[in-house]
Amino acid sequence: MKTKYDNEMNLEILSKSCNEAFARITVAAFASGLDPTIEEISDIKTAVSEAVTNSIIHGYENNEGIIKINCKIDKRKIIIEISDTGKGIENIDIAKEPLYTTKPELERSGMGFTIMESFMDELKIESILGLGTKVTMTKTIKENTLG
């Protein structure tokens, strides 16, 4: 795999909720090369968990599918792409509103995108109805001044 980045990894998982912990721990382990703080790692893990949950519940509506996770490191920045080939999002602006959920019967909090947006530096959502959704999140890990 050729890359213009300092480091890169790809992970594919089945859209099963029991894979969420595996996905977030793997991404956190990959990010650990940047020597992040516990808080930064926790932000990344939570954002990844939200994106993977969205793909499982909303993208694939609990049916079987593949979730692709691509992570790149560019200097101090980690770029995380999480994509599915599920049903897609009809209106991204509405979906991003805090507390908005299309599945209130499942007692969802509607905080997924809000958490991704607040825990990461940047969040980009691309979606085509019937084809799927790709979420790209970036976060710059601060230089550890103690070392």
Partner: protein, 66 residues
């Protein structure tokens, strides 16, 4: 999860010890519902001190239980 019920004060306490995500939340919810039905407490405490990870699934659970 550790569960403690104090008869005198009718206080039911859930000390959650597992990671709370979409995968685990269903199991936790079922257990919480069963215990509430069993004791019919006047007050409930959720203790998150030992929770090392929680995402919006945990927030969803709390909104529902409240």
């Amino acid at each position: 999860m550790n569960i403690n019920y104090d008869k005198e004060s009718k206080l039911l306490k859930f000390e959650i010890t597992e990671e709370i995500d979409h995968c685990k939340v269903e199991k936790i919810k079922r257990r919480v519902d069963n215990e509430i039905e069993r004791y019919v407490p006047q007050n409930i405490i959720f203790d998150f001190d030992k929770v090392s990870f929680m995402d919006s699934a945990g927030i969803g659970m709390l909104i529902r239980e409240i």
